[in-house]
Symmetry: C2
Amino acid sequence: MKYSIDTANNLARVGSIDLKKGQIITPAFMPVGTYGAVKSVTPEEVNESKADILLGNTFHLMLRPGTEVIKLHGGLHKFMNWDKPILTDSGGFQVFSLASLRTISEDGVSFRSPVDGNKIFLSPEKSIEIQHDLNSDITMIFDECTKYPATEEVAKKSMELSLRWAQRSKKRFDELRKEDSTRGEAIFGIVQGGMYADLRLQSLASLEELNFDGYAIGGLAVGEEREERLKVLENLIPHMNKNKPRYLMGVGTPLDIAESVKLGVDMFDCVIPTRHARNGHLFTHRGVIKIRNACYTRDTKPLDEECECYTCKNYSLAYLRHLEKSNEMLGSRLSTIHNLHYYQMVMSNIRDHIKEDSLESYIEYLRSIYLNNDTS
Amino acid sequence: MKYSIDTANNLARVGSIDLKKGQIITPAFMPVGTYGAVKSVTPEEVNESKADILLGNTFHLMLRPGTEVIKLHGGLHKFMNWDKPILTDSGGFQVFSLASLRTISEDGVSFRSPVDGNKIFLSPEKSIEIQHDLNSDITMIFDECTKYPATEEVAKKSMELSLRWAQRSKKRFDELRKEDSTRGEAIFGIVQGGMYADLRLQSLASLEELNFDGYAIGGLAVGEEREERLKVLENLIPHMNKNKPRYLMGVGTPLDIAESVKLGVDMFDCVIPTRHARNGHLFTHRGVIKIRNACYTRDTKPLDEECECYTCKNYSLAYLRHLEKSNEMLGSRLSTIHNLHYYQMVMSNIRDHIKEDSLESYIEYLRSIYLNNDTS
């Protein structure tokens, strides 16, 4: 993996990550393909949105269809018919948010499968092995996502456990890469430490000693206020290695993304564009449109006249509303195609504005269309 | 509209229907786009299956989104983004199968909308006007679908009412065509008469006096035995005008279709390929596959190795099963793409076998793969 900066403007930067399976132009948005599919769309449609990379969820895939099935296909790319890069999360976040009857030890986490109730054990080594079997292009370390809110003491203990798990993750990753050099191109560390600036810096410093290919910021978008999140980023990012990509996990709305880019973030993933599409919330140049609204019943105009996506080029607001009201699956799909396209267009605009030193004005524009109409 | 016979072999024939919006090669299968969408797929995907024509349901569309909304778009083609021919049914069948609190008079049918409970009146004139507003390429007359079973007396009364409605339908159609010659290219009569050969022949003879562009056989696939249906066709079709297309409404499985083609039918519509796809029942060269079956969990082979559809070229049985088990919408879509493709391939095989005078052997093959494994 190689990361290059093309243009930097204050903390924001435009760059690229070169992986064997393709180049990722940053700042980048990664659509989420939880179960080996970006919900309701094909890989070709994701590709048409101009996404360079997808995110796959280790936790979900290990439960269904199970790592073994995907391994039989040679990995997740072949299984889901996507030949560009894939980043997999480690399952850490989901273990802490979705699994029941969970017990954490130094060794790892035991929990009950939400699919069939079976007892499952996930450890740093196990997570890295699964991501290896998925043939992930960017592997994430297995960490504990510190709960929110947490006292400084709790956040510190959690962060330190994550550091020890980071070390074990890296070790197992290096071993597997030695065994099979065609797999495991990159591994990212994840900075934890809750909302505490000092803990975040300690976490970062220790992770950097392990020399990861990139650094993620975890434990955010977990219920904290927007200002709190921005403060963590403000305090942390200036200390991060300039020559490594920075990935803010699980964020966010177009405005969240633009504000975070301004503070130095390069990569994002979030279910908002796909989930909101299925709920009939569509992002447009005029703000969010709720497509079930009666005002669109007779509207023969496209959803977004400035948009070049398949949905906007071929269908009217009235048709999209009709599909939603009739519970036609095609509605979710056309909406998802649009929202994914919109998000990539936002990323493209963000990159252009960084190059033209006008990111602040773009953020102002996003504020004007979304702040009184926020669906996050 | 022009119908030409290319090859006839006994009663079966290969031909074509030329309409302004495109040519339909017959025997033809029309996918059903009830609410202005073939469930889960785009018009482009329907087109890739090689369908020449779609069916739209007047009854459903008049209720949702309402004729007025579609009229604002210039018609159903533009509304749903399909530029090839569309045949619309008259709403007759659905009024009798779906509407509640229905009262029939000589004038027409009153019923409650299943969508909002509003009182609605549908008559021959009204149905033809709606189909005109939908800009249907092939309009169907408004008839009463005789219930099954029915005594000869009931079937006769019903058939005679349908004949009077056929006359009114044709009259209104001709008036509207005079007003706007760009619309209403063809209108088909519908033969009724229940399971009674004499009534069917009376119905046919009276309809032929009205000189329709084609003749449909209605009131079948309503619960009767397969043998009973084939007998109606056997008795009726030899009396039908050779130079007009014959359309068997609402039929059926691949085997039903092939057997009916042998008896002289040229056109079919049915929800089986799309509905079965959504239920995980997939048609293949080896018979029906139930994709949720555990035996496909680890199967990396395509669904149908002889199939050239998008689904079979890019995905494994294990992946399709996984999507179904995970309730991913993409599963329904990939299954629908395949089943629609399979149906058009059956039609293509049927046409080839007619040309090679070997239709009976193809029917035998379909019997061998489906009769012990029928999902109709």
